[in-house]
Amino acid sequence: MTFFRDTWSIFARSMRQSLRQPMWVAIGLMQPILYLTLFGPLLQRIAATSGFEGDAWQVFVPGLLVQLGIFGGLFVGFGIIAEWRSGVIERQLVTPASRNSIITGRALRDVVVIVVQATVLVGCAFLMGLRIPLGALLIGLVLVALLGAAFSFISNAIGIATKSEDVLAPMVNTLALPILLLSGILLPMSIAPEWLQIVSNFNPFKHIVEALRAVFLGDFGNPIVWIGLGIAILLVVLGSWIGARTVAAQTR
């Protein structure tokens, strides 16, 4: 199938570019590491409060992983705008390559980068005292990968549709803030007042965070795990559909 061959080719090219500039991977890691070292110790004090289940790391690290998946994906659109400006996107569009592969290959690269960052993050958390079952780590990485893919598709789609950093930047920020605040990434929503809990129920990312928290506590049978995974898969399907449509619309 030409789609898989082309996607692999686009992925390999993007991956080569990322490997050439490992600084960006490191910079992307800075934020979660700072949260881990500068915010994590604070949490350990609060962990004794009611509403908290498990130790601070089991509550906090799932939030950071979800955050990494969302934010790691959301900002990749800036890269595709630069690629559009240097003529690379148009050059690829004029080949017989599958339209879909042009965005999917890039999303795969983003997923690989994000999963590497997530692994480093969990490694650091382990050094600071996080203890989780291996299955939890695997499910965590799968969730981060799915979120990264969904947001990479969406960010690349916005980038390629608007072709302007000045439009992308405020859009990303507008998307990111409510997602961050209403998902209980930093603190579990269970300690929030009731009205805020109700509002946050409409934020799909809250359920993903809760799914990962359940897994980190070893509660694999909890139905929220399946709900969280289901939402993440749905987001990837939606993202890739938007991405494919946006690339196809480039020639319309």
Binding site: G87, V94, P96
Partner: protein
Amino acid sequence: MDTMIEAKGLKRTYKARGKSVEAVRGIDLTVTKGEIVGFLGPNGAGKTTTLKMLCTLLEPTGGSATVAGSDLRADPVGVRRKIGYVSQAGSTSPESKAGEEIMSHAELYGIDRATAKQRGLKLLADLDLNDVWDRNCGSLSGGQKRRLDIVMGLIHEPKLVFLDEPSTGLDPQSRANLWNHIRSLRDQLGTTVFLTTHYMDEADSLSDRILIIDNGTIVAEGTPAALKKRVSGDAITLTLRHEEDARKAAEIAATLEGADKPATEAHVVRLHVPDGGRALPVLLAELTRAGIDAIGVDVNRPTLDDVFLTLTGRSLRD
């Protein structure tokens, strides 16, 4: 007869703020195998839009076209397989190595690595880019980068190549060098070349045939020589000491072989002659004999502006 491009009534309408804007208003054109065709027009005339439609980068809103034997609407992938496109925006990332970009581009055409490398190196050598394989694209000069873009566009050995404003932003020496390379595409590889430009000299120097586009329609078509004849040659501008001299000078100038009716404005006289270089000594000698002293004289080759003025009755700057 081998037809490379046949377009009928090609149209493109944009929707902008609820209003529809006709960027291309129905273009008919034919390009035969082995031709170099120049698509000439001012910025915003619809050149790039037409080019993008022929390259499958933009769907036409009306009309039809067959490009390199495939129907533009029914089989865009077939068109993509057979054409090369060199955009004015470039084709490579500044951080990537030239060789990697060539190989990666070839992969999208399903070319195996050995063939891609062999062809890439050969094309680079042909375009005087011998040592760039391992260099970052961002470190190349403007002229080298443009030639690398052409190498990328030729990696799948297309029979038809589209070049969008190939020499924009290049210094005169790189331009002349690039023109030689474009000519050799046709002469050595038999490639058909379709290029857009807003430079008269570029269209003139490269093309077997020129299509002039304005306001979304083709307003003239012909060989460079034939088009220039319609512009009635070189412009001569004479500046004299006063209006009395100008009036007399205009009478003398009108007698030059092939001259049009001189236009006098205060103490400046303007006219066109088929060959300014040959007419000028004659004109100056005649003026001296009549005791008229010209204080300034200019000869200008026809510019796109003159072509435009003649064909559309208005200046490019209007």
